[in-house]
Structures are given as C-alpha cells and as structure tokens.
Symmetry: D3
C-alpha cells in the first residue's frame, strides 16, 4: 500500500494546507498528516490545539490520519511504511529550504522521495505566519482559513466569530 506523509507545523492549518493534503489523498492510498510537536519559539496554538483543528477539518476523510511527531521525518516514514513525503510549494522562499530538507532526507534514506506539488493559485500568497500577523490585529481574511481555525481564533482573541466572512466547513 502506498502511503504519503504530509508534514508541517500547522500553526494553524490553512486552506492552503488542506488543499495539498486533499490533492495528495487522491493519489495515495493513505495520507499521514504529521504535525511537528516543536513549532518554533512561540506557537500560536499548542500541539493539542493544532491536532484538534486538523482532526476537525479532516474528520470525514477515510484515508487521512493525523499524527504528531518529535523525531526525524525519515523515522516517521519508516514507522508508517511510507517512502513518499509530499509538500506544497508556494513561492521561491519555500524552494530552497524545502529542497535542503528533501536532500537531507534522501541522504539519510535514499528510498524516501519528497514530491512537491504547487500551491493552488488562490493560496500562493498564504502562509501561517502571515495570517497570524493579520489575525493578531483583528483582521479577517475571507476564504483562507477553515472554520475549525476561525472558531478558535475568535475564542483566543476574545471576540465573537467574525461576521459575514465564513470559512470553509
């Protein structure tokens, strides 16, 4: 069975992440969404929240499983008997970092291939870090975040759910 790993910090998951995960799920029999426990210095959401949001977004997808990891990605791949990592590329700045990581993973296990898919155009400019800056000032950006995230953002920033701009159910 062909298994793909979709790794990330998902702080928080965006519609751009979901787009890549869902497209991957059409081409592989199983997709493991692997959430890095360590999300850098000051994550907006803790690991439990990040897992919960992903599980909420992907609840009805039969061949997608959400896990967390705190190890090398190749170890995750071995554990799930996968030899394919799938990542979305949005822009130039992703390119070099992702290629370095892909190269490192291949050097640790040459059977593990990283496949990149291009972000859908509407998510080209979308990043978790960018969106966090906007929401920290109360901004709401239509169509970029799933409802599971919008709901938690509203709680976190002590506001009602932003009116008139609905996320993707």
């Amino acid at each position: 069975m062909k298994v793909a790993i979709c790794p990330g910090t998902f702080d928080p998951v965006t519609n751009g992440h979901l787009d890549v995960i869902m497209r991957t799920a059409r081409h592989f029999e199983k997709v493991i969404v692997a959430v890095a426990a360590n999300a850098g210095k000051s994550p907006m959401f803790n690991l439990e929240e990040r897992l919960a949001m992903l599980n909420e977004c992907l609840a009805d997808k039969k061949n997608i499983e959400v896990i967390d990891f705190d190890s090398l990605l190749v170890d995750v791949a071995h554990q799930y008997d996968s030899c394919a990592i799938v990542k979305g590329l949005r822009a130039m700045s992703d390119f070099e970092f992702e290629f370095q990581m892909a190269q490192f993973n291949r050097q640790m296990d040459e059977n593990i291939e990283t496949f990149f898919v291009m972000a859908s155009p509407e998510y080209t400019y979308l990043s978790s870090s960018g969106i966090k800056e906007v929401v920290s000032y109360g901004g709401c950006i239509e169509g970029l975040l799933p409802n599971a995230v919008l709901k938690r953002l509203a709680e976190k920033f002590g506001k009602g759910k932003p009116s008139g701009k609905q996320g993707k159910e």
Copy 2:
C-alpha cells in the same frame, strides 16, 4: 484628494526610505508615513525615537505627515481616507513578503491597492537590519543614513559623530 500611505518600522529610517517617501510625495497630494509601533523583538530605536528622526528628516515637506500605528494597515488607510499603499522594493527577498501583505490587504478591502516602486540603484543593497549590524561595530557607511540618524547613532554608541563622512542634511 489622493492620499498615499508609506508604512514601515523605520528602525532607523535610511536614505532609501526617504527616497521612496519623497518620490511618492511627487505623485500624491498627501503622504502618510505610518510607523509601526511594534518593530519586532529588539528594536534599536523606540517608537518615539523613530518618529522623531522621521519628523526631523521630513520637517520641511508640506504634504508629508508622520504618524504611528498599532493596528491593521487597512484601518490606517480608512482613517486617512486613502486607498493607496506605496512601498519600495529592493530585492527578491522583499518581493514575496510584500506581495503576501499586499494580497492580504486587498482581500480585506479590495479598494486598497499597494503600489510598489523600485529602490534607486544606490540603495538596492541597503536595509535597516544590515546597517544596524555595521554600526554596532562602529562602522560608518557614507551616504546611506540621514544626519538625524547619524547623530542619534553617535549618542547611542557613545562616540563622537563619525568624522569626514557626512549624512544628508
């Protein structure tokens, strides 16, 4: 009346920033220089200093006003009845971040357009962060900083004004 917003952290303002502000002021009736209160983790100059330096540099410009903000840029634009943000682009690395921000701002209010102008060649390699590293070691780079900044840098680093290399008055 056509109003343009020139946003930034200006920590400190460089001759590259002033070049973009002044060129913008030729094309718009009024320019609002909007200084982000939050300049990241460890700014070299606090908000008051950054405002003071800009005011000193732009004192004689009738159609330029310096303000600070701690909100979404689109809120600043609405407040000043502006629908144009003008930013300088120097290099590739600016490109992606700035385009993401421009895209976010358009999604929050589609009437707000971000216009980019290219940095003048002599300022292509100039960034506030780069220049801070140099001055922290006592370096002085001719022609890149206005006198209002050079003066404060000299005070901050406990030295006399760097001799023989004058800033722009």
Copy 3:
C-alpha cells in the same frame, strides 16, 4: 489630471492584463493602454488585431484609451502628459526585467515613476507566451482569456468556439 500608462505587447491580452488595467483605472483619472507595435519575432496577432481585441474588451470604460507606439515609453508618457507607468508583476522572472526598464525610464526622465501592482492570485501563473503554447495544441484554459480573444483564437486555429468554457464578456 493624473494619467497612467499601461504598456505591453498584449499578444494576446489576457484576463491578467485586464485586471491590472482596470485596477489602475480606479486610481488614475485616465489610463492609456499602450500597445508596443513591435511584439518580437513572431507575434501570434498583428498590431491591428491586438488593438482590436483590447478595444473590444475595454469598449465601455470611459477613462481608458488604447493606443499603439513604436518609440521609447518615456516619449509616450510625455505625449500624454503622464508621469506614471503602471505594470503588473506576477513572478520573480518579471521582477528583474521590469526593474531594469523602470530604472532606464527614470534615468531618461526622473519625473517618470513606474508603479508596480501585484497580479491577482488567480493570474499569477498566467503569461501570454504560456497560453499561446497551450492554445496552439487546441487546449482551452477556463477563465484566463476574454471572449474577444477566444473568438479570434477559434478563427485562427480553424475550430469552433471552445464549448462549455466561456470567457469573460
């Protein structure tokens, strides 16, 4: 009166071009769409066709005028009493060429500023040259070309109008 020039070869005009032209028309009193007579070695459409398609697309826009030119862009700017060139930037590869041109134009007349606006996300990957390759093999790409172009492409390639995929009226 503030006049902007939107130059290009428009071989053919795409919805991405129209998006930039229309957004420019919101910020300037008049927009001159300037079609370069010389469209490189083997244009798909001759100058008359390119002008006709633009005129068809922009027929109901009161403050937009379509002209052709076979000279320096700064001469066009002088002729129409404009000191603003507005161009769309899609991607890195546009960046360097456009900045060189902007720099040359400023060196020839320092009052002429080139303002760049970012392509809308859905047109990020869209170029006239890319689309020509696709249509030459009979491909039809939904939502990227105006009807005025789709119609002429259908004639040129001896086919009926591509069914089921309508262009923008």
Copy 4:
C-alpha cells in the same frame, strides 16, 4: 495501476534526466517517458535520435516506456490513463515555468497532478542547453551524459570517443 508521465524534449537526455526517470520508476508501477516532437527552433538531435538514445539508456527497465507526442500533455496523460506528471526541478529558473505549466494542466483537467522531485545535487547545474554549448566546442564533461549520448556526440562532431572520461553504461 498508477502510471506517471515524465515529459521533456531530451535534446539530449542527460544523467540528470535519467536520475529523475529512475527515481520515479521506484514509486509508480509504470513510467511513460514522453518526448516532445517539437524541441524548439534548432534541436541538436532529431526526434528519432532522441527516442533512440532514451531507448538505449532505458532498455533494461521493465516498467519504463518511451513514447513521442505532439499534442497537449494532458492528452498524453488521458491516453495512458495517468493522472501524475513527474518533473525534476533543478533551480529557480525552472520553478516559474514549470509551475505555470503545472497550473495550466490542472486547469485543463483538475485530476492531473504534477509532482516535482528535486534534482540530485550533482546534477543541479546540468541542463541540455548548457551541455550542448560545451560539446559544440569539443568539451567533454565527465559523468553528466550517458554513453548512448556520448557515442552520438562523437559521431556528430567527427571525433573519436572522448578518451579517459567514460559515461554511465
């Protein structure tokens, strides 16, 4: 059965191309190497030669088939019941063109996904066009071209097989 298409002009095939094709063949049940009949203005090798060299290099690979095409890539994908195109990315300059093509293909058939794999480091700087310039002056670059190509280059440029620098058998 999962089928991948590896398209290109292969003028000539390099060890970099073979690396991508072979890596793809580990992850898919069948790989179709699709050679574009139209290789631009002045190909070094005609279609027959390009097909012959690829067939020679891949003769013993059971799940790889070499074909030529003169149509849209999505048509090739449909014909071979494939919904995966796999391409190697070497450098920034590949990035934008390949993303545009991937986007076009998705817009023509949203089930067709383009997967990118990174070039192996030793082939990062390798391109067919670069290598053609070198060989046209009699240069020989160790380890970059398969023997099937070296042999034909030697014939074409009227020289004996470059001594001491063996290609990959």
Copy 5:
C-alpha cells in the same frame, strides 16, 4: 604570475563591464579580457567593432589585454596560463547561468576557479541587451556607456553624438 580572464560578448561594453574589469585588475597581475567571437544570433556590433571599443576604453591600462576567442573558455585559460576566471554578477538571473558555466569549467579542469564580484550598485540594472533596446529608439542613458561606445552608436543610428549627456572618457 597570477592572470585572470574576464570573458564576455561585450555587445557593447558598458560601464558595468569596465567596472568589473578594472576592479579585477587591482587584484591580479594581468587581466585578459576575452571577447567571445560568437555573440549570438544578431549582434549589434561585429567582433572587430567590439574589440576596437574595448581597446579604446582600456588603452592606458598596462596590465589589461583584450583578445577574442572561439573555443572553450578553459582552453583560453590554459593558453594564458591562468586559473582564475572573474565575472560580475548583477542579479538573480545571472546567478544560475553563471553558476552552471562555472561548474562546467571546474569539471573540465578542477584547477580553474571562477570568482564572482558583485556589480556596483549603479550598474545593478544594466545589461547590454537592455541598453540596446533603449538606444535603438534613440534613447540616451546617462553614465552607463563609455564614449567609445556612444560614438559608434551615434554613427550606427545616423545621429549626432547625443548632446549634454557625456560618457566616461
């Protein structure tokens, strides 16, 4: 004796090229300016003209010699007992092509190193191809071309020497 090769097509030589050549001449005992005989499809100046302009510009430089070549650059390096090629880098788009060439040259002779120096800021946006487009329409760009070139351009385009904008003597 340390000898550096500065290769190019120089169609025509710009002040940016001269800047790189002169800076190289400070660090090496001898500089060979190597003019590629083959300047692509339709050079503006033939080989004799390109050599003449360079010789005129560099007449008083004792340690700089201008030659032409129609072979591999490593052969030129061997002939002049040089193991250093020096090139100017202006922009991203130079980067990949130049790195590929440098890599090829090192693979042909690992003792030959290519050293890159950055263009001076005022020449960042300057390219021979860009400037040719401008001059073909009668444009004159101050400070970018030496007098030896301006004179020939004036002859070629049947005009008097552009007034009021002097080149570098």
Copy 6:
C-alpha cells in the same frame, strides 16, 4: 603577498566550508579563516569549540590560519593586510545577504573586494543551520561533516560516534 579572508560563524564547520577554504588556498598565498565571535542567539558550539574544530580540520595546511574576530570585517582585513574576502555562494538566499555585506564592505574601504565562489554541487543544499536541526534529532548525514565535528556532536548528544558513516579525515 596576497592574503584572503574567509569569514563565517562556522557553527559548526561543514565540508562545504572546508571546500571553499581549500579552493581559496590554491589561489592566494595565505588564507585567514576568520571566525565571528558572535554567532547569533543560541550557537550550538561556543567560540572555543568552533576554533578548535577548524584548527583540527586544517592542521596540516601551511598557508591557512584560523583566527576569531569581534569587529568589522574590514578591520580584520586591514590587520592582516588583505584586500580580498572570499565567500562561498550556495543558493539564491545567500545571494542578497552576501551582496549587501560585500557592498557595505566596499563602501567602508573601496579597495576591499569580496570574491564569491560557487559551492561544489554536493554541498549546494548544505547549511550549518539545516544540519543542526537534523543532528538534534539524532540524524547522521553522510559526507557532509568533518570528523572533528562528528566527534563533538556525538559527545554533545550523549551518543557513541554514529556507526558506519564516516566523516572526512
């Protein structure tokens, strides 16, 4: 005597750094490897360790000296009577930062030139920061780190020397 400075933080030194240092040592009579005392917020190795590892790696190189510095690089150059800084460039993301630094150094002393050499292909994707992430999870990447570093990493992470994957002696 021609002296080159190879500056860096070397946290830790990689085979990519050693490659650039050794190649530089072929072209200059003396090479000063200058280790920045300040290696950012949380270096993996302190200054003494970084110096010790470099000294161990370069022990038998007669014309290479390892020093540390806590000042402007141009001051180091003056102290060692050098007017050449040599740096390796791997990727686009290095490009802009390094060019800014080179430009600053030239503005402080126009006699000081920064020469860039391209990373060898096998080290294109290699960075100290990338490798630190991998080793922090117990990963071992063959051929990228010298033994002097592997030994210390094993000590630091409380493990035996990674088996079967030897560093460069």
